[in-house]
Amino acid sequence: MSTQIPIQEGLFTWPAPSPQLIGSRCLNCGEVTFPAQPSCPACTSDRTEEVLLSRRGTLWTWTIQHFPPPSPPWLGDPKAFEPFGVGYVELPEGVRVEAPLTENDADSLEIGMEMELVVRRFDEDADGNERMTFYFKPAA
């Protein structure tokens, strides 16, 4: 039976019924960054702590990727390519996080709309594990 594993450890809580992105908060200035990093790009401090980010935010900007990304590094299948949405979602922690979107139709995306985090299957590794990654989707 296949196991679901995160595409990279430390990006989001998993397995979890309501997964959250893992960012870092600067212990000096309070600035929040994603993904978590050991130093602060705002104030240069090297003291940060992990923080779980809110699952909901608003769409700050978006686009739709209409051509297969250069591969490598993209691991999708160019022959089965479907356009996909990409956006920055502004979270209450004062950070805008970039992510693929579940929607790829321009008419279904609008700056300012409510979005929520979901974790879905991306691909399968050599051992048959399902590799999971995060997306934002329009909030219900």
Partner: protein
Amino acid sequence: MDIAIIGIGLHPFGRHEGVSAMEMGVIAARRALDDAGLSWQDVDIACGGSLQVLQPDTMGKFMGLTGIPFTNLYNGCATGGNLLLSAANAILAGSGDVAIAIGMDKHPRGAFSVGDDLAGIGLGQWYGEVGLAVNPQFFGMKTQRYMHDHGISEDTLHRIAVKAFENGSRNPQAWRRRALSYEEIATSEMVCDPLRKYHFCSPSEGAAAMVVCRADRAARYTTKPIHIRADVFKTRLYGSFEVMHASIPADSRPSPSVQASRSAFEAAGIGPEEIDVAQVQDTEAGHEMMHMAECGFCKDGEQEALVRDGATGIGGRIPINTDGGLLANGEPIGASGLRQVYEVCLQLRGEAGQRQVPGDPSTGFTHVYGFPGVSCATVLSR
């Protein structure tokens, strides 16, 4: 800054089957030296830049191995701006009398790839695996937000592209010399919303070179020196919205293009309203639009009217990207910024032929912007 450009050389941008980036670099360097009436023997300092050529100083064996310091540098799409700055700074520091900046590149067709190891650019591999390491996504997203914030329509994007290819059609050295209609551009396929195929430049091939010396010695080499009034390089501040950033703060800060342009105009002692001809980084039409404001040529939101009224055309109030820019010339990364300087020099010398800006222009401006948030701005005058 009291440095003058005394020689300019270009290997036209485009597709050049069977000609290597280094061969194009050698041709551009020889043309720049010929233009100054100098030979490689006279060069005290060289700076070379390229994405594709691993170490541009390997071209020394074709130019002549004269033992000079030859610095290799690379700063993404801003490389050309850095090359001129480094050559000028070496002269300012008193390291020699004559310096040359040489940019060259040759890229495969299709969008630029960041390669297979994202650790080399400080990102997790996942970022590329899921398809986020794609420059045009950023161009689309920054343009999308800007149009939303400042009430600009797609009409402006189409008109900017019409102008680029119209200017390219007047430039015998441009890659794309066919003027495109508004209709062709507006209905071309979507690439990354709201940007379409003909809003974008393509990676290309080519080289450019500049020879510089102290301004008070320029008359020895040329009757038409172009003075570098200011040349400023800035990297991003925390908070500016930049390409390939997995997160950005909600409190935004001005881009490195704003920082570099402001500093350059301050150092030059002249303002953007006094510039007669400008070249700004037009990776796509959206960025020409945003860079018009970031470089100080208008306020945010004024672009729609300015572009519609032809203010940025060759006969307009502030002609922008008169040689067709990146859209009509493509982008060989290492050379692109020096092509802009080449074009401004031609314009200020009155040698730009069919695309000559009328009214005897005497001041010019160039601007490059690139990954991962770097910019150079240069103010030039006769």
